[in-house]
């Protein structure tokens, strides 16, 4: 069993683009659920809009990549408005079902063969990041995301972070977005605006009786969180192809697990939660098959690789029951309003 290899592959997940995408979307969920108390179970839909908006902006509308990124963000704002105007007055668990259904509708529209020319149907879209990366189909031509990379070709860093210029560019871009995002959310939730949405989470009627427009605040929170979801999808699209099979309901549930792990009503919770989630995922995904291969577990390595997904579910149950505030959360700041 290659213990060092497993540990090294695991450690590289701390700076993986997927981890950053989860952290960004998790930050959005923290704004939705942790601070505003909105039970959004459709984050996968926001992420899908961010990723597909970007890819379609490039492939169908021929926009430069940095403008196409705003197509995805714009789409998520429109989605938040369409979703929010009618649903924000619904009770918590109703909102959850509506958002989950809305995200599924988006996924089905991306999957259907009716719009295959635009969405690529089940194959998804590829080749929008331009040449020079893992995506080699040269449709986007010069000027894609990969070509904006100022880092000269070569390997940089030290193990386990020894990677080529594209991976480092992804990490730097993701890191910058994440840093700005965290600062923005941190300032936001500690502002008067943040105090109002936290008040709405605790007692909507009390805030309303203070003369605040609860609906408008909720809507603003929904849009801000949704934009972070789109940024998460964008980050995934920067790093790889887009495929509707990624933006399934399970993705939303995994995000929730990562968020609750770190602490829903904290700014750094989503970051730490995503890092722990993915590091554990990567570690267990390598450890169990390795154990199975070494004959220490009584099943084959494909089965062994599935165990981690079972553990996500168990972890989610245990977290919600025994430590609903997460690792960093404050028990006094109730994240589950009854």
């Amino acid at each position: 069993m290659d213990v060092l290899g497993i540990l090294s592959s695991t450690a590289s997940f701390i700076l993986d683009p997927t981890t950053m995408a989860y952290a960004l979307a998790g930050l959005g969920l923290a704004v939705h659920f942790g601070f505003a108390g909105l039970l959004n179970m459709g984050m996968a839909g926001f992420m899908a809009l961010g990723a597909y908006g970007y890819a379609i902006g490039i492939l169908t509308f021929g926009l430069p990549w940095y403008l196409a990124a705003f197509v995805g963000i714009g789409a998520s704002i429109v989605f938040a408005l369409i979703l929010g105007i009618p649903t924000l007055r619904l009770r918590g668990d109703y909102l959850a079902i509506v958002t989950i259904a809305a995200a599924e509708i988006i996924r089905l529209f991306l999957l259907t063969s009716a719009f295959v020319d635009v969405t690529g149907s089940a194959d998804g879209l590829s080749g929008f990041n331009g040449p020079g990366g893992t995506v080699t189909n040269p449709i986007a031509g010069a000027g894609g995301f990969n070509d904006s990379n100022p880092i000269p070709d070569g390997e940089y860093g030290f193990p386990p972070f020894l990677d080529d210029e594209r991976t480092w560019y992804l990490r730097i871009v993701g890191g910058i977005i994440l840093a700005v995002g965290v600062y923005f959310v941190w300032r936001l939730v500690n502002s008067p605006w943040g105090r109002v949405i936290k008040g709405i989470r605790e007692d909507e009627e009390a805030v309303r009786s203070l003369g605040k427009n609860v609906f408008a605040y909720k809507m603003q929170a929904l849009i801000i969180g949704g934009v972070f979801g789109a940024l998460g999808g964008l980050m995934l699209a920067f790093s790889t192809n887009v495929n509707s099979g990624v933006y399934v309901t399970s993705l939303t549930f995994f995000l929730w697990t990562a968020l609750l792990l770190g602490g829903a009503a904290t700014v750094f919770g989503p970051l730490v939660g995503s890092a722990i989630f993915w590091v554990l995922q990567a570690f267990l995904g390598l450890l169990f098959p390795a154990l199975a291969k070494a004959g220490l577990l009584p099943f084959d390595s494909i089965q062994a690789a599935q165990i981690r997904f079972i553990l996500i579910g168990v972890a989610l149950v245990l977290l919600v029951v025994f430590r609903p505030q997460g690792i960093f959360g404050n028990k006094k700041e109730l994240t589950f309003v009854k």
Binding site: G92, A101, I105, T112, V118, I312, V314, A315
Partner: protein, 444 residues
Amino acid sequence: MELVATTRRTMGRLFAAVGAVVLAFGVLGLATPAHADIVNPEMPFKVSGNVQNNGEPVAGVTITVTGGGGFTATVPSGEDGKFVVGVPEKNADYTVTLDETTLPDGIAVVDNPNTPDFVEGNVQTASVGPGGRVAMNFFIGQGERHTVAWIDQVVQRLISGVNFGLMLALASVGLSLIYGTTGISNFAHAEMVTFGAVATFGLVHVFGDAALPLAIGLAIALSAGLGWALDAGLWRPLRKRNTGLVQLMIVSIGLSLAIRYLYQFFIGGGTEQLPGADSEKIQLFGEVSLSIVDMVSMGLSILLIVAFAWWLTYTKVGKATRAISDNPSLASASGIDVDGVIRIVWIVGSLLAGFSGILWAYFRPGIRWDMGGQILLLIFAATTLGGLGTAYGALIGSLVVGILVEGSSLFIPSDLKYVGALVVLIGILLFRPQGILGRKERVG
């Protein structure tokens, strides 16, 4: 008559295709590889696909791809039924022809069950979009191509919708009862549905195909046991802790994930079939036909639903269940053993869900680890439409959703047919959140 006409059309196309192939050989000097499943791998864009007979790959079928500029390539499907052809241009249409004479005897290209209208069989147009790739699948089955009269299609969809709706009803009345008595939006209900099918599959594996009725009976009993175990092991302790509703909902999501991947752990990621899934179809009138399994399934659903309705209306426990749905504290004060009744509700709900899972395995057809998850939102839609917490409402809601889903595929692409039900779900929550049969004051 139809067969003759079809064959004639096919022959005509065949000659055209052969002609094109010959032309290609002459002009481009391309040699067709004998048993490869990819040609022109050097070309940047791809037309790929699958030739399947009832999910089984069909090898050695000749596929011809023709396109603008005299492009022609011929490829035999590989051992896995797949073929890949490199094509020179994107944003272009290619004609993909399956040579029906290379199919094994007695089978022909049939309609793709995943597209809305009856797609012309062995010749299809593939548009290579901006992504540069397109998938073109051929579905092979017994019989020959023919068009079906509109009214027959409508009737067929209607029957199919009722069948689907009855199956949904079995799952949703349980969900509705559980919601009514405990307040939990139980996302793990999907896994209770899958459980029935997976348990049947496992038992058939042990006892053999002939013991199917026994396996189904045992699987239903096991489903009831699952309901008991979930309540005793998880939900009752959480009730004692006074866990909040939102927490309970997220717990059910975690439970759903854990059980779902547990199924995948045991049965793998593929689709398995129960015995009798390809039972013969009986022609009723016109082009409307039903398989024996469909009829048995509808009959049993109705029987079970009637029995359930009788239980809920006339038995003591049924009355107590409805009393708790109405007002738990009042029920408790009147001396009803709330905890005991909730335990029974979990058992009954799980039993019905397990049975609906078995029917769903025949309706889809096939058993998959996430098969329950595929209809979870439809079950929610049906329950909400009828009125959350009302069992009879769930029944009506299920029939409406079932007919809507099946009927809508007459008008919209069938890979979008669930969208209609989801839109109804959202619409109902917005405009009449109490549903058809619900009372207004129950909604907070």
